[in-house]
């Protein structure tokens, strides 16, 4: 069977298709049991009256004459036929075959009769089903010269009309009851399913009525618990695609905002250079244009990097932080030396692994080093520190440059924010890129003053990965970690 096709049916239809035959099956089984029970009950009740008739017949057996006389209780048999609403047959016989009265060809009891114990059996007499009660007892005295009293067998049989009517009534009643039950259950089921599905219809109406731009999350209030995860998943999906849309819009905004000024400046500078006739001054102007262009190129690259971060799909792989830090630091080594800055790496005690995209992490660390080297004055120190503890890993870049004034730390990391105490040219995008990457790979960027309150400490807090490179379960955050450390 095609289960997908089955699942594609409406809930109501699926429930009805599964439950209705199921209910019918249960009703069938119940009816069969009822029939069996009714048969047993009818037999128990009617066998008793059969035994009563046998006893009445038995009471009319007399051996007083020396022979055996049976006064046939016709009145009793007539009443008995009335209550059985059918026909009654009887047989009285001695086991030695000397005496045979009544319907001699009545079917014998299937098992040997125990003296004094009635036996009831179903049989067929002249092609008609009958219930036969058989009973044997010892005669009061031996008959016809026998040494010991022989046994006399009394059998009474009745046709089954009364029993069948009794059973039929019970089964019909049960059938009517069961059918009413099925109808009621089906009705309730239809109503309940309809009622349960109403929030979904409402939800559909609500979503359909929304304007195209409305990407607010759908309210899960009044939604059945079973459907809520679906709504939440859809909300999550919409939220992600909204974030992407936002990122793209932001890029367009940023790009237009950031590229307009350098381009305008460049146009002015080029105009100035064209008007200048003195080759020396013209060369100076071209130098200024070159540096302006370099800045524009860097800014464009950064903007593109930021846009990429926003749109890239997370596909983490295990990264050894020490290897990564070493390779990045090596790249910045020359620049640090040119600036007269002491660039150091302080690895952790053991290997530190995280699950992240190495390219992103690379970009983030590069940005931090670039910032630190650019703003730290000649003779300063920049150190990359790695640490890990309890499923977290930290990568920190500390410098002893001017740092960021306390009041502006909170805003650092926003796009195009530039601290008030810096004079060097910059885009204000470096920390924003680091912050975006940190959040993208499940971590956070913490900014604070360096050791002894001087300089800047920029720290990326990441979840560590286990040996297989899987992200470890979320542990304590950095704050709680720091609290523990500070105690």
């Amino acid at each position: 069977m095609n289960l997908d096709a089955w699942h594609a049916l409406s809930l109501r239809r699926t429930l009805l298709l599964a439950l209705f035959p199921g209910l019918l099956l249960v009703v069938g089984a119940e009816l069969w049991l009822t029939w069996r029970t009714a048969m047993d009950a009818a037999n128990a009740a009617y066998d008793r009256s059969l035994l009563g008739a046998i006893k009445a017949m038995d009471a009319n057996v007399s051996t007083a004459s020396g022979g055996i006389g049976v006064e046939l209780p016709y009145r009793m048999l007539e009443f008995f036929e009335l209550t059985a609403s059918g026909r009654v047959f009887y047989r009285v016989a001695t086991e030695d075959g000397l005496v045979e009265i009544g319907n001699a060809d009545l079917p014998p009891p299937p098992q040997a009769l125990v003296t004094g114990q009635p036996q009831f059996s179903d049989a067929s007499y002249f092609d008609e089903p009958v219930r036969v009660g058989s009973y044997a007892r010892k005669l009061d005295r031996p008959l016809a010269g026998q040494a010991a009293p022989q046994r006399i067998v009394i059998q009474i049989a009745e046709t089954l009309q009364s029993r069948q009517a009794f059973t039929r009534t019970l089964v019909w009643q049960s059938l009517a009851r069961d059918l009413a039950l099925v109808v009621a259950a089906t009705g309730l089921l239809v109503l309940a399913v309809g009622w349960a599905l109403r929030p979904l219809a409402r939800l559909r109406a609500e979503v359909q009525a929304r304007p195209a731009q409305d990407l607010r999350p759908i309210s899960p209030r009044g939604i059945p618990a079973d459907v809520r995860p679906l709504v939440e998943a859809i909300n999550h999906h919409v939220e992600r695609s909204r974030a992407q849309t936002d990122a793209r819009r932001r890029f367009v905004d940023d790009a237009s905002h950031q590229l307009r000024t350098p381009l305008a400046t460049l146009a002015t500078q080029v105009g100035y250079a064209l008007r200048e006739t003195d080759p020396l001054l013209q060369h100076e102007a071209l130098q200024a244009i070159k540096s302006q262009l370099d800045e524009a190129v860097r800014q464009t690259n950064q903007l593109l990097a930021l846009a990429r971060i926003d749109s890239v799909e997370p596909s983490p792989e295990p990264v050894d932080l020490e290897v990564l830090a070493q390779s990045v630091a090596r790249r910045w080594w020359a620049e640090a030396r040119a600036g007269g800055i002491d660039l150091g790496l302080e690895p952790a005690r053991g290997p530190v692994r995280v699950a992240a995209q190495p390219a992103l992490l690379n970009e983030a660390l590069s940005n931090l080093l670039h910032n630190a080297i650019r703003y730290t004055p000649r003779g300063g120190h920049v150190t990359v520190k790695l640490r890990s503890a309890a499923a977290r890993a930290w990568i920190e870049v500390v410098d002893d440059g001017p740092g960021i004034p306390d009041g502006e730390l909170a805003r650092a990391g926003e796009r195009f924010f530039r601290a008030s105490n810096v004079r060097q040219p910059g885009t204000g995008l470096g920390l924003a890129i680091v912050k975006s990457i940190a959040e993208r790979i499940g971590g956070r960027l913490h900014l604070g003053p360096g050791p002894n309150g001087r300089g800047l400490s920029a720290m990326i807090d990441l979840p560590a990965a286990d040996a297989q490179g899987k992200p470890a379960p979320l542990g304590r955050t950095l704050e709680s970690q720091l609290k523990v450390a500070g105690r």
Binding site: S65, G66, G67, I68, G69, V70, L72, Y74, L77, T94, D96, G97, L98, V99, E100, I101, G102, N103, A104, D105, F126, L143, A144, G145, Q146
Partner: protein, 328 residues
């Protein structure tokens, strides 16, 4: 001498006792059924004829010993009362048919002393006076229409002479005797009671007992007699089976037997008494009153007749697929 006197006294006393306890003193006739049937009728004939002819001084006692249409009485007399010289037991042709089929237990026709046949009877098909069945053809039509609606009453079960009469009728009409519904009764008296009560629809009994019962006021009707010609008296209007297209004759002899250990002397006293009595017109009158025809046989004559009859019944029963005992 001293011891002779008591001996003489004993001998005298024995002689007196013997005279007192002759076979004809304190006589008893066992009718091996309930009152009202053919055995009862046979005993009553002996009772009145013996008394009227002064062959006995005390009235003959009639006792009823039902059970298996004579089977219980036959066994009781042989096993428990074999030497009771003053007890005679009624029998009929039906008893001989049962003997031929071994229905009398382990005894056969050689185990009693056949005393006398006192008359003959014929089979008859009897219905209730209110019955819609007026003839044998009505009966056959009714059985053919619905065998469950026509229940045959019979003195005795399958194989008994009443069954045999019905079976012969059925066979003559082309029906399977085994498809007919039978209810066995303890003799004809019971069957006629059931007939009047509507518990059975037909009784294939005997003409004499039907006549006797009608005399007593029973509401029954005879629709056929199984004789070679019409009977006399009350049943003269009833056509024979042959007249109705079915060649069935069923004569029945009625008579008495005594226990196997009854002495030759006592047996002789009884048979000579019956010989004498049956030669009188008074007896013939009583016999005719009972609806019986003349058929008188005693002694060795009867014994031979009984053996020959049993042999005939063996072939008949075997012909109907019934069990028979081998002849001895």
């Amino acid at each position: 001498m001293n011891c002779k006197a008591p001996l003489m006294t004993l001998l005298l006393a024995l002689a007196a006792g013997a005279a007192l306890a002759g076979p004809l003193d304190k006589t008893e006739c066992i009718a091996p059924a309930k009152p009202g049937g053919g055995f009862d009728l046979t005993c009553k004939l002996a009772q009145s004829a013996l008394m009227d002819g002064k062959y006995i001084s005390d009235p003959m006692r009639i006792s009823y010993m039902p059970g298996g249409i004579g089977a219980v009485a036959y066994n009781t007399v042989i096993a428990q009362r074999p030497a009771e010289a003053n007890t005679i037991v009624a029998f009929s042709g039906g008893s001989l048919l049962n003997l031929a089929q071994g229905k009398f237990g382990r005894y056969n026709e050689n185990d009693v002393r056949w005393l006398a046949a006192v008359g003959s009877d014929f089979g008859a098909v009897i219905v209730a006076e209110s019955s819609p069945l007026k003839s044998l053809s009505d009966l056959i039509a009714a059985v053919k229409a619905d065998p469950t609606k026509v229940v045959f009453g019979a003195g005795g079960t399958v194989g008994s002479q009443d069954w045999m009469k019905a079976a012969l009728t059925a066979r003559a009409a082309g029906l399977d005797p085994r498809s007919m519904r039978f209810v066995a009764f303890e003799g004809g008296g019971e069957a006629i009671t059931a007939l009047q009560g509507g518990h059975v629809q037909v009784y294939s009994g005997d003409a004499s007992e039907a006549e006797e019962q009608m005399k007593a006021g029973a509401k029954i009707r005879v629709i056929a007699v199984m004789a070679d010609k019409r009977l006399e008296g009350r049943l003269a209007a009833v056509p024979t089976a042959k007249e109705q297209g079915m060649d069935i004759e069923w004569p029945i002899i009625r008579g008495f037997y005594v226990g196997p250990k009854v002495s030759d002397a006592d047996y002789k006293v009884w048979s000579e008494t019956f010989d004498k009595m049956m030669a009188t017109p008074a007896f013939n009158k009583l016999r005719a009153e009972r609806g019986l025809f003349q058929f008188a046989k005693t002694g060795a004559d009867l014994d031979a007749f009984v053996k020959q009859r049993v042999a005939f019944y063996r072939t008949l029963a075997a012909d109907f697929g019934l069990n028979v005992t081998p002849a001895k």
